[in-house]
């Protein structure tokens, strides 16, 4: 499983741990760069280090799925209990802004993938930073639209709580819908803000020429994270914005 077999020819331990000559196909490859400055002391080579980091991010994304999973479960339960209210409430969200944001995020996934590729292929720091900054601008655009949407809800007192106002048929169910709407899109937006923060660091590192073919894992796992955040939105958009279409929204 592990790529990181050591170059060490012998072992100082007694017992069953035997002394073996290195017979590993990866040896040549790993000893080519025995002291890469980014190699941490407890890894055998850059390959093992990169594999550990990417697996770590995948495992983290699994925890994120479970985290958002609790919200999606709550959505499922309450939509089943209040089907009409959810349609009515959903019709008051602007599907046009939602669709615009969906397009923005999908496009930002493309630019993120290009950022990873530019680091992987050792392109100039200008190219690497360009794709990263483009991704960040798109992310910020998404958040800007979100601010417009939120402030519109605040202006109409459609925010759950003691001051919630609903002039439709199903005020109780609509309040639950908007509770879930704010929790789900709010946590998603928080993930985007964190993503923008990480990307700022990555862009600075890229400008300092830290990434090339031998070392680009930080860009790669940031990309994994960003794609995950996009995918969450791909589920949020239809579940929140589109279920009320035939109810006659605007």
């Amino acid at each position: 499983m592990s790529d990181g077999y050591p170059q060490a020819p012998s072992v100082g331990l007694p017992g069953r741990v035997s002394i073996q000559a290195p017979g590993n196909p990866h040896d040549e490859q790993s000893s080519a760069h025995p002291h890469h400055p980014k190699l941490q002391h407890h890894f055998d080579d850059m390959g093992q280090q990169a594999e550990a980091s990417t697996l770590g991010m995948w495992v983290f994304l699994v925890t994120e799925i479970m985290f958002f999973g609790g919200l999606f479960l709550a959505y499922l339960v309450y939509r089943t209990q209040n089907p009409m209210a959810f349609q009515e409430a959903s019709a008051h969200l602007s599907w046009k802004l939602g669709a615009f944001n969906t397009a923005v995020l999908i496009f930002s996934s493309l630019t993120m993938a290009l950022a990873v590729r530019s680091a992987q292929t050792s392109e100039s720091r200008g190219t690497q930073v360009f794709w990263l900054v483009t991704t960040m601008i798109l992310g910020a655009t998404f958040l800007g639209v979100k601010v417009i949407e939120y402030s519109e809800k605040f202006a109409h007192n459609n925010v759950p709580g003691p001051n919630f106002v609903w002039d439709g048929q199903y005020p109780a169910g609509a309040e639950i819908f908007y509770s879930l709407y704010f929790c789900m899109t709010g946590l998603h937006a928080l993930h985007m803000v964190i993503g923008l923060g990480i990307m700022t660091v990555i862009a600075i590192m890229a400008w300092r020429r830290q990434f090339n073919t031998e070392y680009f894992t930080p860009v790669e796992i940031t990309g994994l994270y960003w794609h995950f955040v996009d995918i969450v939105w791909i589920f949020l958009f239809p579940l929140l914005y589109l279920i009320g279409r035939h109810y006659g929204g605007h």
Partner: protein, 533 residues
């Protein structure tokens, strides 16, 4: 001048608080966990003191509620869940797999700080007035009624959950990517298998309790209607989400203990474990099936009877892999050359108490019987047999087994045997009467009870006193051993495994040269009955 090891390699507080060495971080956890263990014990002591007499004379009803709430929160989230993984797992997993450290050493240190931060939140909640919801934080009481520091305590649980998630993540990546050459999956020590299964539960379950607690906070602070029926919410949904984590959380506590027992039983019966792959896979089976049984907590809370039947059957099924382990350990001990050192005494204690705890769990998994026993002391006795009789016995057994490795010092064996005996006697005297009084109908979570139950409660309180002496004793002989103990050789027990081949205490990087493994890590002498059967 001592040889350089992880303890004397660097001095001063900063060298400990900023360390990235998994062994030092394990000791940071050991100290903080021990603090919370005795804090939780203090709350338990107040409970037992109140229940000495039928009348409510020591504590008011409200203060009594706060005592059992804080006891549960502290013991579950700040002692039991981190105990074996964060201390023994942290220390041993890299050594057992021939690695220099966990995959993410900095993340490991951050996990400890997150744990401490969560602990501070909980302490603040306790000191500023306490929480009286029970450790389960059931809604709508926790969101609408409870006039106390629910949010602070819940945030403490939320924060410390991330420590658990990150530890599990670290273990999974480490076990996948950091094994020494030749150390294939089926050569791994069973302790590592157990921690792999535990880590799966940690990363899959903990995020769900995190989002649940967050929703409780949103409901309480922002008045969003999610669980409160007055706002259109569904309180049973909270119970589903809560137990989706909190039942598997029991396996976060017991699976690592099972890993410890697998190691101890082999070392002190001087035999290879019977049915290695059965024990390894039963850990995974427990981790997976354990996610499908949460509904047995909701039999009487408005769950459909058909869902109840399904949850009941799966709850029976999840007992099977546990039983497989118990049978295999017993078969390992059978005809072994047994030495009754203190770790083995704890292992024997575990075997008996965990079996009782597991079998009484089947009583509660039966829907009809559960209606009678739900929320009685029978439930309390059952889960204490698992969590205290199982998990803490395993933790103490492991601590005694690896103490010479961790500190490089030998402790007083007669004192350790005395403590093991006191723990066993005290534990049974505390909790066995609770099965009886629960079966007779004494409900949990009341500070008063009818006089006819007093004899059982007096026995319980007496047992708890003996138990606390048994728990305090190791504090003395362990600390004594650090200063006055004889130095331990690399392998004081004649045990097998990579951790016994490095010096005691190990050097900072564990291995001078990465070992190359050519056999399973547990090669005890072949047992005599091979070929007889």
């Amino acid at each position: 001048m001592d040889t350089l090891n992880y303890i004397n390699n660097g001095h001063g507080l900063a060298s400990w608080l900023l360390t990235k060495d998994h062994k030092r971080i394990a000791l940071l956890y050991l100290v903080s966990i021990t603090f919370f263990f005795f804090l939780g014990g203090l709350f338990a002591f107040m409970i037992r003191l109140e229940l000495l007499t039928p009348a409510g004379d020591v504590l008011t009803a409200e203060n009594y509620n706060k005592m059992f709430t804080m006891h549960g929160v502290v013991m579950v989230f700040f002692f039991l869940i981190p105990s074996i993984p964060a201390v023994l797992g942290n220390f041993l997993i890299p050594i057992m797999i021939g690695a220099k450290d966990l995959a993410f050493p900095r993340l490991n240190l951050i996990s400890w700080y997150i744990y401490v931060l969560g602990g501070i939140f909980t302490l603040v909640a306790a000191l500023s007035g306490g929480v009286d919801t029970g450790w389960t934080f059931y809604t709508p009481y926790s969101t609408a009624a409870a006039n106390s520091h629910v949010i602070t305590a819940a945030l403490g649980v939320f924060i410390t959950g991330f420590s658990s998630i990150l530890t599990g993540l670290n273990f999974i990546v480490t076990i996948h990517r950091m094994r020494a050459p030749g150390l294939t999956w089926f050569r791994l020590p069973l302790f590592v298998w157990a921690h792999y299964a535990t880590s799966l539960v940690m990363i899959l379950g903990t995020p769900v309790i995190a989002i649940t607690v967050l929703l409780v906070a949103a409901e309480r602070v922002l008045h969003m209607g999610i669980f409160d029926p007055a706002l259109g919410g569904d309180p049973v949904l909270f119970q589903h989400l809560f137990w989706f984590y909190s039942h598997p959380a029991v396996y976060i506590m017991i699976l690592p203990a099972m890993g410890v027992i697998s190691e101890i039983v082999q070392a002190f019966a001087r035999k290879n474990v019977f049915g290695y792959s059965f024990i390894a896979f039963s850990s995974l089976a427990i981790a997976i099936i354990g996610f499908l049984v949460w509904g047995h907590h909701i039999f009487v809370a408005g769950q459909s009877v058909y869902a109840g039947m399904l949850f009941s059957i799966i709850s029976y099924i999840v007992a099977v892999p546990s039983a497989i382990k118990v049978f295999n350990w017993t078969a390992t001990i059978y005809r072994g050359s047994i030495s009754l050192d203190s770790p083995m005494l704890y292992a024997f204690g575990f075997l008996g108490l965990f079996t009782i705890g597991g079998l009484t769990g089947l009583f509660l998994a039966a829907m009809g019987l559960d209606i009678h026993m739900h929320d009685t002391y029978f439930v309390v006795a059952h889960f204490h047999y698992i969590m205290v009789g199982g998990a803490i016995m395993g933790y103490l057994g492991g601590l005694h087994y690896w103490w010479p490795k961790i500190t490089g010092k030998l402790y007083s064996e007669p004192a350790a045997k005395l403590a093991a005996g006191l723990v066993f006697i005290g534990f049974n005297l505390t909790f066995f009467p609770q099965f009886l009084v629960g079966y007779l109908g004494m409900p949990r979570r009341y500070h008063m009870y009818p006089p006819e139950f007093q004899v059982f409660n007096v026995m319980s309180t007496l047992g708890a006193t003996i138990l606390s002496v048994g728990y305090l004793l190791p504090m003395f002989y362990f600390v004594h051993s650090i200063f006055r103990g004889k130095p331990s050789p690399a392998d004081p027990w004649g045990a097998k495994g990579l951790e016994w081949e490095v010096p005691s205490p190990p050097p900072t990087e564990n291995f001078a040269v990465t070992p190359i493994v050519t056999h399973g890590t547990h090669q005890y002498a072949p047992s005599k009955e091979v070929g007889v059967v």
